[in-house]
Each structure stands twice: as structure tokens, then as C-alpha cells.
Subunit: 407 residues, 2 copies
């Protein structure tokens, strides 16, 4: 079995943590910001040190390819993103970029024989923090979004993504885009962003796909009246209706499956004044599960929500949804085989959050590796994965790449 | 029985509706704004037409006194306010000012014999829309607030109430303030702001006092995690805890009294993102009742709220509270006697909202008269009381003043 350099992994984590350092243990590194550009330059510098040039495509995605013994073969790509949310951590995304850098570095330095060219790649704007949507560039390249549309995406300061792309100097040729002729497989290592692996005491998550999901907006329409004058029996209190609707959703969805996850994370209340009975509430409902049949039943729960609760009219509408994505079974099996052979504890796991890999799965054979997130935290400065855990994940990535190379 | 002029009431309602007219059936007339000053000038002009001069005190409260036959007797005062909330209606407050104007006008024009001087009064800044708190001037004069503190009250634009008072030209002498030596009784007519009288088909509300109340903030502390990755059994969802806390409050408070009113009108959720489990909720709880023993029990319900709901810590704190205010029983009885003798349907009623009269009740014998609010609406452009209903209320006020004069 091959292994990469643990000290080098530590060095890479620490080096990239400087770009956008908040001084409180985390980073703010929006895509194409000065902080993200500094991180991009670090990527380029580290690849140049191995004699590898970096090219970009028209969405500023970066590709650094180590040649194999047979240049006619398609490339194997390791990819993730280096942008973050506001006050994010030092692991989400960047650990996949570090994996790509470290796997390529190990293969080059240790002269590990391989036939296919091997590419370390960085996706632009996975988080969509400044310019929505999330997974913007993989979405464009995998035909989920129109490029012309995302170029117009505006930050709160009114700058467009197109302007930021132009100004960055990282926009390259469309011909450099990831594509199924020049590339034969993609692997993405990511932190789990959840507490399951830690609870199960597993070192490697063998990700078999991404959960299907739907996101709905549920609203209650009541009547706004004075808190001091309206007898309880006259009231149509939209917040009480929302409380009952939330209880209904919990009761009904809990019946469907032990492993269904659903969240009412956002609420809008009107007029939101302590002396006025609320006349309008809207809240979000995000539901995720691996089995489309369970998701279908969950949708029925939403559609069977009583039309009237506490004398308030209840309405619902879809905000967005996605179908389940299954990763390439042969690649998933290879990840599992290598975790096993390296002597690491492992488990099959579905990804709850979305990743660039879920779009790429439509383009190329794709899979992912998860490493544990301490306390399940992500998108926050407390995000943490130990150097040991990261190194184990990267070792699985390295051996999986070499196995793919043999096929 | 004496009656006032129905056409004059209609004219007064229509005249004052012009000052701050939103063009959509209501008004925005913040205290001491140009619109409110125009309304003040209308008040002064109408009193001058009867040969009555208007003076102001140091809080810009206005007093216009019609002499009686015995100038050594203390004055009887009719008072309300002419300021409004944003997009308020043409009845809240201003109908009490119109009552004062019309009662004085009727007494003067019809030469109704009376011994005491009779004063029409306007309170400054009852709503506190631009400069909190509400009932600012009655609060200062009745020693509920420090004048020096309220002068510093700032509008959102950063102007202080003190500056607005100075600029208005309406600040007069502190010696003109309402006081228990120079005044013997106060009467305020107001719209009900609730649906009870309409539902009970009553024309006159004989107000016996203002409900006691408390306002608490209840909060739930959970854990913020990713919506897609955190199994339900691991979650500490603060919004779910809030929904259960709201249900608990409804279940427990409903047991206490049929006529208790309580409202959870305001909610703050953090981080309020549809893909993140909420880690913090705070909501308001406003509870009102006539009986201090019931309010005491309601407070026990709040204090007995489980310390932990849905694995979230629950906390509560008082925002503010007020004790019940009882109006002068002899005056309440006089209002009832006159409603009955005028042949109007009437009912005893408690005021849920606060009014300047509740502070004045500590200073002078005080009471209030309610007239119906269509559909119970107030603090909105839909506010409506018919000319007939207003006129009936003013007739009760007129006869009550004459009765007080006899005592």
C-alpha cells in the first residue's frame, strides 16, 4: 500500500489556513476574493515546485496535471474547492484540494508508476457565498446552470460574478473544461459535515451517493389584531398555526424512516411585533433521504398538511428539489477495498449536503471519500479533522487513484 | 339629556383625516411631525372660533378651557391624543380629541349651564411611534418616566424628542401641567380596538379599568448543525423547542381563565437559514387579565416552563409589566347611567391596551368610554367607527361631564 506524507499534510493544512484567517480559528475566503486568489497562487506554486503547470478553464476552475506513462489515456482527477462560507473552517473543501495536491506530490516524489495522467483540480465558487448558487462552476460545466445566467449573479455589494471572474485573471479557455473524453474518473475527498462517523467510530466514509431532497416553503395566513383586546376564541394566530404545523410535520415524518432528516431552519413572521397577533408565517422545510419512495411519502405528508390549522389557511410551495445521486459502484467499491486494506475502520455513508461531485457524477465515473468532522460541525470556525484522520483519508484516495489507473 | 351635533362630529372626523392622509384610507401622523402640527393648529383654530385660547405645558400637551360660572372650582378635562402609528387610522386617539372639541363646542354653543371650567386637552406622543415610549407625556406628568430621560429618546433618524419639542414651538410652561389641584376629573373616549362590543352588539363600552399585564421573552438554546447530515436523534433544534414551548403555554394558560388574553407576537431565530438547524430562538409572550390572581398564576405557568424542551435549554426573562388600573367607580357608574338614560346598549368592559388615562388615574378621578371598532381593527388603515357610533359615545361623554359638574 502507498502512503502520503503526514508532515506534508499538516503543513498544507496550516499553509492554506492563512488565506482568509479570521484570527478566531477559521477563515472567510469567498470565491475569487483576494484571500481565495492568494490560496490559488499557493496551489500553483506547490504544483510548479513539482514541475507541473496549472491551466484554467473559462469558469476559472484550475487543473494541474502530472503526466503518466501513456499520454493517450484520459486523466484521473482529484478535485474540491478552496472557497468558504463567512466564518467557515479550515477543512470543508480545502481538505479535498489538499488531498489532490498531496496525492499528486506523493506520486511524483515517490515516482509511483502510473499510466494515466493525474490531475489536481480546484472548482470555482462551490459555496456560492458571495455569488449564488452553490456549486456554480460544476453546475455550469455539467449543464445544470446556464453560464450566461450565473455570470450575472450579484453579490450584496452589487458586483457580478462575471466582473469578479474577469478581474481575477483566472478565466481561461473553455476547451480546458473537465469533459468525459479527456477525463475518465473523478474523486473528491471531503469532511463528513455530520456526526455519524464520529458516533460510529469510523475513520473512512465510503460515500455511495448524495441524498435526494426537497425544500418547501409552508405558510400560514391569520389575522392581525391587538394583543390586548382580542379574545382568544376570536383569534387567528399564524404563529400558533406554524407551531402546530411544525409539530404535525415532526409527528408524520418521524413515522416514515428512522434515517430521514428534515429541518425547519428559517421562519418569517409578520408583523413580528410583541403586541400584535401575527397574521402571516412562512417557514422552510428541507427533507432528505436516500430512498426515493420515502421522499415521495414525505412529500405526501407535506401535501396532506391540513388546509386549515388554528383557523389559519395553510399553503405550501416547492422552493427546489434534487433527485438522489448514486456514485459509480465500481469506484465506491475501490474506496472500500483500500480503506479495508489500509486497516482503517470504515462505513458506507450517504452524503446529505451537496458537493461538486454530485454534478460531475452525470459526466464521469465519480465518487467521494469522507473523513470525520469533530462534533459534526461544519461551515463554522469550530470545524475540525485531525491531521491523522486527514492523512488516512488521503492514503485511501492515493491508493484508489492507483487502482483506477490499473483499470 | 343633552346631545351634540352629529353633522359637526362628521365634519371633525373628516377635517382631521386630512392631516397625514396616506391616500389609502388612513393616516401617518407622528407626534410633533408637520402633519401633527397641522392637526394641532386645527384644534387651536376650532377653539378660538369659540373664543377659547389654547395653552401648552412643557411637554407640549395642549389645554383649551371653557370657563364655568364658578372660576374657583377645579376643571373637568376631556383628553386624548392626535398622533398615530405609521399607516394608522382616523379614530384611535383623534376620536377622543374630537370628543373633547365637540363636548366643549356643544356646551358653549348651546349655553349648557355648568359651574366648573371644562377643558379640552391633547396629549403629546401617546403612540411613541417616532420617539418611544408610548404614553410619553402622561407618563412624565404622572411621574412614570423622568422628563430628562424621554427628552433624549431618539427617532430612527437620530433626532431626539427634546429637539423635536424645541423645534415644534409648542413647548409651554410646566405650571400649565395637568395637576390634582386645578383639575378634578378626566374623561377619555377611545375606540375599543377589539371585537368584543361588536360581537356583543353594544354601542357604549363602560370602561372600568385597564388590564394588568406582563411581557416576557422566552428563549431556547439548541445546537446549529447541517440540515443534511445530522440524524434527527442527534439534533437540538431550537425552533422545535419553541413550537413545543408555544404549545405548552397555550395548553397551560387556557386552563386559567376563559377571558385571559396572551400573545406570542414576535420571534427571533438564529441563524435562520433553511439548511441549518436553528440554535437559538427567542419569542415574546404578552399576557393580560383583569384579576391579579390570574396573572399571578399565569406567571407561575411561565416560571414552570420545563428547563429543557427537545434537548434545548429554555430561559425566560421579564421585559416589562404593569399592574391593573381601576378607574374611579363613581365616574364609571356615571358613564353607565348616561348610556342607559340615552337609550344606548352598553356593557362593562376592561381596556386591554394602555391609554394616557391609565397614568392619569393615579393623579385624578379618571374614567374612559369605548365606542365600537369595526371588525376589532386598530392601528391600521381599516380602523372604522361610524359617525352614529361616535356621536353616541360623545353624547355619553357630554352628559357625564355635566353630571360631574353637578357633584
Amino acid at each position: 500500500m502507498f502512503t502520503c506524507g503526514k508532515d506534508r499534510v499538516k503543513d498544507k493544512i496550516e499553509s492554506f489556513a492563512k488565506f482568509g484567517d479570521t484570527g478566531k480559528g477559521g477563515i472567510t475566503r469567498f470565491s475569487l476574493s483576494p484571500e481565495a486568489i492568494a490560496a490559488r497562487k499557493e496551489f500553483i506554486k506547490r504544483m510548479e515546485a513539482l514541475g507541473i503547470q496549472t491551466v484554467t478553464d473559462d469558469m476559472a476552475n484550475m487543473y494541474a496535471t502530472a503526466p503518466g506513462t501513456d499520454s493517450s489515456l484520459p486523466r484521473i482527477v482529484l478535485a474540491s474547492h478552496l472557497d468558504s462560507v463567512r466564518n467557515g473552517g479550515n477543512y470543508d473543501g480545502i481538505l479535498g484540494v489538499i488531498t489532490a495536491l498531496e496525492v499528486v506530490e506523493t506520486i511524483v516524489r515517490d515516482k509511483i508508476p502510473h499510466r494515466h495522467p493525474i490531475t489536481a483540480m480546484v472548482w470555482t465558487n462551490e459555496e456560492g457565498s458571495l455569488y449564488p448558487p452553490a456549486m456554480m462552476s460544476s453546475g455550469v460545466i455539467c449543464k445544470k446552470f446556464e453560464k450566461a445566467t450565473v455570470l450575472k449573479s450579484k453579490s450584496v455589494e452589487g458586483k457580478t460574478f462575471g466582473e469578479a471572474l474577469e478581474a481575477s485573471g483566472f478565466a481561461g479557455s473553455e476547451s480546458n473544461r473537465l469533459n468525459p473524453q479527456d477525463y475518465c474518473a473523478m474523486l473528491e475527498l471531503h469532511i463528513e459535515q455530520g456526526p455519524i462517523m464520529e458516533a460510529e467510530k469510523k475513520q473512512i466514509g465510503v460515500v455511495d451517493g448524495v441524498l435526494g431532497m426537497f425544500n418547501y416553503r409552508i405558510s400560514a395566513y391569520g389575522q392581525s389584531d391587538h394583543a390586548g383586546t382580542t379574545p382568544m376564541s376570536f383569534r387567528r394566530d399564524a404563529l400558533l398555526a406554524a407551531a402546530d404545523a411544525i409539530k404535525y410535520i415532526h409527528t408524520e415524518l418521524d413515522k416514515l424512516a428512522k434515517d430521514i432528516v428534515y429541518t425547519t431552519g428559517e421562519i418569517v413572521l409578520h408583523p413580528n411585533v410583541h403586541t400584535v397577533i401575527p397574521d402571516f408565517v412562512e417557514f422552510s422545510l428541507d427533507v432528505r433521504h436516500w430512498d426515493p419512495a420515502i421522499l415521495e411519502k414525505a412529500l405526501e405528508v407535506v401535501k396532506n398538511i391540513p388546509k386549515e390549522i388554528d383557523k389559519c389557511e395553510i399553503k405550501y410551495k416547492e422552493a427546489w428539489s434534487r433527485k438522489r445521486v448514486s456514485f459509480k459502484p465500481e469506484l465506491v467499491d475501490l474506496v472500500e477495498k483500500n480503506a479495508k486494506e489500509l486497516g482503517y475502520s470504515y462505513m458506507r455513508i450517504h452524503s446529505g449536503p451537496g458537493h461538486d461531485a454530485q454534478y460531475v457524477a452525470d459526466l464521469l465515473p465519480t465518487t467521494m471519500i469522507f473523513v470525520p468532522s469533530k462534533d459534526g460541525h461544519s461551515h463554522c470556525e469550530e470545524e475540525f479533522t485531525s491531521v491523522e484522520e486527514a492523512w488516512q483519508g488521503i492514503n485511501v484516495a492515493l491508493n484508489t487513484i492507483i487502482d483506477i489507473d490499473k483499470q
